[in-house]
């Protein structure tokens, strides 16, 4: 008995190696860097738990939300939108030829959400009360309530969508069949739920008309957040697939580079359309509030950097790349677009927030806030790698191929 568990462990967890070989195979530079990040991150987590938010962050009564919300939640969730973007494309619009991208996308959404919530726990004062939200005290008028519940539901949805891969790995055929059937429904509900909370993240800032700079504040904030989550999601699919097709190349048996390039360009086109719509809406937004005069101020220049450099420019690049058939340009542009979304979320949550107070009194994160976030990102990447190395994420499981 002991022996059979042992082989199971070796096959499934250690990739068929002996524990010694497994450890040796993992001693390399990237893993060492990861270990450094991890230990710094975990160290800060412990420090935060022991001493509270005051010593471990630069947060203050004027800046109740800082880098952990701005980056871990707003950026993290926007970049975890691949599941939303591809779920819609493949299951609702029937773009079946993108289904190769679906499993990695779902996995990154799942891990993205789980780790965003994990990081959030360190920002919440009384993290141990988080179950209150689900079953004890409901604030129906709160947008945060909507988001909390949607996160909860969406993580469950992602788990269902991911379950087939898990049960293929564990070789539990019946369960796998069951979850495969459910997965389609989960995707549909997932699209609704994800759309709801991506926009609600923008909706969070609807209540701060006096605190958020007028160029960023708008009643359309939810729409902007939803749209940008869509191109962020697509960009992340482009970005991730580029990386993972390099890193996990040996997993892809009959990999067709030309086809992969075509798909990438197709994704680029979709991202470009979303970017253009976003840009036009932003334009109307300024016109509607008659905010032109703000453009000629320091905040205005910063705004223009965001809108021209990280929205219009990538939109044009995507278009150019699609016309000229340049898949690598699409990949770089995907990266640029994702950077732009990061910039946008940090602008809304930190830089353009409390814009009227003097620069000297503005919030900036201290190293511990960065370290914790970096630690969480490292965990996410390690988990992603762990799962991809073991389960049928990048390829179709040989024994289950026909089921697709």
């Amino acid at each position: 008995m002991a022996k059979s568990t042992n082989t199971w462990f070796r096959e499934k967890i250690l990739l068929g190696m002996t524990p010694r070989d497994y450890i040796i195979s993992n001693v390399n530079v990237p893993n060492l860097i990861a270990a450094v990040f991890l230990s710094a991150g975990v160290g800060v987590m412990i420090y935060r738990l022991l001493f509270g938010l005051g010593p471990s962050t630069n947060l203050s009564d004027n800046y109740p939300w800082g880098f952990w919300i701005g980056f871990d939640i707003l950026v993290g969730i926007a970049l975890a939108a691949p599941g939303l973007a591809l779920g819609t494309a493949v299951h609702l619009f029937g773009m079946k030829d993108y289904h190769h991208f679906v499993r990695p996308a779902i996995l990154s959404s799942l891990l993205g959400y789980v780790f965003a919530v994990f990081a959030l726990l360190f920002d919440l004062g009384r993290y141990y009360r988080i179950p209150y939200l689900i079953g004890y005290s409901w604030g129906f008028a709160s947008i945060l309530f909507l988001i909390g519940w949607h996160f909860f539901l969406y993580i469950n949805i992602c788990l269902i969508e991911w379950a087939p891969a898990l049960f293929e790995w564990l070789n539990l055929r019946k369960l796998r069949e069951f979850f495969t059937k459910m997965a389609i429904w989960a995707t549909i509900f997932g699209v609704i739920i994800a759309g709801g909370h991506q926009s609600a993240l923008g909706g969070l800032y609807l209540v701060v008309p006096g605190k958020l700079h007028p160029l960023w504040y708008s009643t359309l904030l939810p729409v902007f957040f939803l749209l940008s989550a869509i191109f962020a999601g697509i960009s992340m699919v482009i970005f991730e697939s580029t990386i993972s097709h390099r890193v996990f190349k040996r997993q892809l048996k009959n990999f067709d580079q030309a086809q992969f390039d075509r798909r990438t360009i197709g994704l680029g086109k979709a991202a470009a359309s979303a970017l253009f719509v976003y840009f036009i809406l932003k334009f109307f937004d300024i016109a509607h509030y008659n905010n032109w005069s703000y453009l000629n101020t320091p905040y205005g220049y910063w705004y223009l950097v965001e809108i021209l450099g990280f929205v219009l420019f990538p939109a044009l690049l995507f278009t150019h790349a699609a016309i000229r058939h340049k898949p690598n340009l699409v990949r770089w542009t995907g990266f640029l677009t994702a950077l732009g979304v990061i910039l946008n979320r940090l602008n809304v949550s930190i830089i353009a927030y409390n814009w009227y107070i003097p620069i000297s009194q503005k919030y900036y994160p201290i190293w511990m806030e960065f370290a914790l976030s970096l630690g969480v990102v490292t965990m996410l990447v390690l988990f992603y790698r762990f799962i991809v190395n073991r389960m049928a994420i990048m390829y179709e499981h040989p024994e289950y191929e026909s089921a697709h």
Binding site: L49, P64, S137, I143, F189, P209
Partner: protein, 343 residues
């Protein structure tokens, strides 16, 4: 004096923090807002919430509030002292408060805000009319339609029929969204409490005003009759009277009458309100209304609008299945060919 457990813990934390990080973090924290940001273990909010549970149902439906006449304030800061005293916040001898107004270097040099250990602050501004100092007391405004209440995702606020907006610490998770939402930057947070940090704010002395003849501690101690406690409707009448009877003395505006839908604290001033640190750009719309439309929209979409989508998807799926069954061996060319139409 024996040090209490909390005091001891606090010191240990400070020492540990200092030795771990160097004292710069602590020094920085002081810049962030003076010693009252280190305060922890607030009890006033919890006490008032317990009282609320007990007596709220028996209260008559009268809205009370306070009218502040900033032209009268002499900056003695006794209200700060009395508030600390009544609410068991960390306090100093009253002399130190009274001294500020005469000191060359004093707390008045910077505009302060409320922190974990103080529910109210008095700030100094200089009149644009005659250059004389104007002192302005600040605390929670006790909005008619409070942003803090609507924004809280675990419903940790209550609006009493008597006017006070109370925070219920027993459900608060500490997300601090209420601090973000409050247009007057009122709720403060115990950043230096690792395990059980609370939101703290003025209670409008719920535990005093619900007693026969009770007025808030800050109102009671004021030597210059700056503040008047009473029914809001009467206070507004009184304020208008003062404005019309003293032409030229006040700007013709009662701050709080309409701001974000009305507040229980009302202010009179001799100079425009933005010159004495009050936000005049927050509008008359209650903050909760800003997100109401969106919330409604999302719920409607998810409950009603989503169903056509679900059925549409079902239709698409079943159609795709049929197709899949009939043409099981779709060749790769065909698959690739369908790509073009997709976009």
């Amino acid at each position: 004096m024996p040090i209490s457990r909390r005091e001891f813990l606090k010191r240990t934390v400070t020492i540990a923090g200092t030795s771990l990080l160097g004292s710069s973090t602590i020094a920085h924290a002081y810049q962030k807002g003076g010693p009252s940001i280190f305060s922890t273990g607030n009890t006033a909010n919890e006490g008032n919430w317990k009282l609320y549970e007990k007596i709220e149902a028996t209260l008559p439906e009268d809205r009370y509030g306070v009218l502040v006449d900033t032209t009268r304030c002499i900056g003695c800061r006794r209200c700060e002292w009395a508030c600390n005293e009544w609410n068991k916040n960390p306090n100093r001898p009253i002399k130190e408060f009274e001294a500020s107004v005469h000191q060359e270097k004093s707390v008045f040099d910077a505009v302060r805000r409320m922190h974990a250990g103080n529910f109210t602050v008095v700030n100094r501004f200089y009149s644009s009319r005659d250059g004389k100092p104007i002192y302005v007391k600040r605390q929670c405004m006790h909005c008619e339609n409070p942003a803090c209440l609507a924004s809280c995702f675990v419903d940790a606020y209550r609006k009493s029929t008597a006017g006070p907006v109370l925070h219920l610490p027993h459900v608060c998770i500490g997300c601090r969204y209420c601090m973000l939402a409050c247009p007057f930057d009122v709720p403060a947070y115990e950043y230096y409490e690792p395990l059980n940090p609370q939101i703290t704010k003025c209670t409008l002395c719920y535990d005093r005003i619900t007693r026969e003849g009770g007025v808030p501690a800050c109102v009671e101690i004021c030597p210059a009759e700056v503040m008047r406690f009473g029914k809001i409707s009467e206070l507004i009448k009184l304020a208008h009277e003062r404005i019309t009877k003293n032409p030229g003395k006040y700007v013709d505006h009662i701050y709080g009458e309409h701001e974000v839908g009305g507040t229980s604290w009302l202010y009179l001033s001799s100079v425009p309100f933005d010159e004495i640190g009050m936000r005049t750009d927050i509008g008359k719309t209650p903050i909760p209304n800003m997100s109401k439309g969106f919330l409604f929209g999302v719920k409607m979409f998810e409950i009603v609008g989503a169903w056509p989508l679900v059925f549409g998807a079902y239709y698409a799926i079943s159609k795709a299945r049929k197709k899949h069954k009939s043409g099981h061996d779709t060749s790769p060319e065909e698959k690739g060919g369908s790509h073009g139409e997709k976009h």
